[in-house]
């Protein structure tokens, strides 16, 4: 990463040595994962780093990423699985044949974790091949994330001591759990239930030995700039007071608070958030 930090003082350059390689942005649907992921990617790029934004499934917004000058990559599970099997067996033809058999098809159907695990392995591989690369992963919503990160552990147990898969899982875990590799960002909203859910995801990740996890409170009305309390209707005053109480109660658990933006355009909202990303990096 040294080449990219020339614009910064040496102190800042040292700071960059602690950067994580994989920013895993998760949380319930609709809490702002994509917005946060794009803002974070833009911030990392503005620091001169080689940051890529990768999106799961079809949630991604190709046009928005383009507007923000962020290269957009969508992961394709079927492709990853095929590439992995082809690599293991040394033949694309056999791999495509195997994946077409009802036997294997139903294995992948009944046990969806297999494909998720292969996909995660693919991402880790990308990072190992290019030591300068940083990936911001706009992850699936928390339930799916939990299944995805838990499945390698389950399969390791299932496959026992031998076999290529067990060895590959071990290899993947070695990278994933190495220092300054994985950083989890759990995005949540300012309601008691949402925060509770966010903390549950955080606890899950930590219980699986992912230690570096930040809980980020998004869409906070309390922190919206230029609010004049006296002109607001009573419901909003009440809502803001309620959010203040929530923030006070969970201040220790929350790493960063992002304001509700009064902008209507996604691009503007993301650019506004970009300035608040330093604390998460």
């Amino acid at each position: 990463m040294k080449d990219h930090t020339s614009n910064f003082s040496s102190q800042e350059a040292t700071h960059f040595n602690d950067l994580s390689r994989l920013y895993f942005v998760t949380g319930k649907g609709g809490v702002g994962k994509t917005t946060l992921s794009l803002a974070l990617t833009r911030y990392l790029k503005s620091c001169g780093l080689k940051a890529h934004y990768i999106c799961f499934t079809s949630r991604g917004d190709h046009k928005l990423s383009k507007d923000l000058k962020i290269s957009y990559q969508q992961l394709d599970i079927a492709e990853s699985v095929m590439a992995y099997i082809a690599d293991k067996l040394g033949s694309k033809l056999i791999a495509s044949w195997i994946l077409k058999t009802p036997f294997f098809k139903s294995i992948f159907d009944m046990v969806p974790g297999v494909s998720d695990m292969i996909l995660l392995g693919d991402i880790v591989d990308k990072l190992m091949k290019d030591p300068e690369l940083i990936i911001v992963l706009d992850s699936p919503s928390s339930g799916h994330t939990i299944a995805m990160l838990e499945s390698p552990h389950n399969f390791k147990e299932m496959f026992g001591k031998d076999g290529i898969l067990t060895n590959d899982i071990k290899k993947m875990h070695k990278s994933l759990y190495s220092a300054n590799f994985f950083k989890g960002i759990v995005c949540t909203l300012p309601t008691p239930l949402a925060i509770h859910e966010g903390m549950e995801v955080k606890n899950f990740l930590q219980s699986h030995n992912f230690v570096d996890i930040d809980l980020v409170l998004n869409n906070s009305l309390v922190n919206t700039s230029n609010l004049k309390m006296e002109t607001l209707p009573s419901f909003l005053k009440e809502k803001i007071k309620f959010e203040q109480e929530i923030q006070a109660k969970y201040s220790k658990q929350i790493s960063q608070i992002l304001p509700h933006s009064i902008y209507m355009s996604k691009k503007k909202i993301i650019c506004e958030l970009e300035e608040k990303m330093e604390k998460l990096v």
Binding site: S106, G113, S151, F159, P192
Partner: protein, 357 residues
Amino acid sequence: MIKIPSKPIEIFCGTGGVGKTTLATSRALYLTSQGLKVLVITIDPAKRLKEILNLDEENAGVIQTIDASVFNKDVSYKFDALLMSPQTTLNRVGIKHDLINDFNNPILKILARPHGGMNEIMSVLELQYHLQSKVYDTIVLDTPPGKHFIDFLIATKKINAFFDKSYLDIFKYLNKPISAATPEQAKKSKKVVSLIIKSGIKKLLSYLEHVTGASFVDNFINAVVSVYKSKDSFLSSLSFQKNLKQQTFSNWFLVTSADQQKIDEALSIHDQAQSFFHKDSYILINKCISTHLNDWHPKASSPDYQLKKSMLQTELNLLKYAKKHFSNCISFNEVLAWHSVHQVQKLSEQWSKTPHL
């Protein structure tokens, strides 16, 4: 009068964090208050229901009776609640087919963990069980968000594919009898075996062994064989899928929330569940604030005007979308409350409203 007629099964679906569990529980509470016998089931491994109803995780898989007085101290009726436990469901199937030892398979046990991958398929079996027992007037179902909900919808399709006849041949080849074969069948299966060997199943299993290790293949085959032996239980769930589509059998509620930015996600769930929805499916918009802000008229171009606009944006978009795709919509006003029991109580009152659009 119940404004939305109750059905044997009522399904709450939607993206994460919109309030599916809270609304499902409020519906259960409301229907109970109208004199129905109700069971609310959550098949979401996140088990929000556990917190709302203060249930014990250890009792997952066991029906627990909830006293409605926790929501409203003036009432005395009760309803039942169940946290899905795939292992409990699997055990029940095991007992029914006398396969308890076979089901003790390490792979089956891992797959039957809440996030192990078989949750959705086992959920279909669990629901079928309670529907057939006919104890309840209505079963309110709280589903997991996103992909796992889709997994639930296509679970019977997967079951069907799994028990596909052509697939059975593998076990015949492996000399793992599924049922006692008549001499005629045995003769036929010999033929099949030679066919399979030609088509390369032996090769296929050797690839599997190469990738996963030998001990896995052995456990795996045994796991599949024991599931096969109980296939009647699995296949009986196929009728459930058909019933789900019937208007007299199911109420579908697509839950959305005015505090979330994602309409396209709701849209994608809607698309995938389209074949199940019927004319009287409902869209619910939770956490609406427009009625709360009705009397607030900030001057155009003032910062407050901008604030109001930005806060109402999602709600208005959701309404627009609802009008386009649904004939019934119910808006639930946001409830500012620390405790979910208060929210459930407040929301249950809103069920007596007439749907709009």
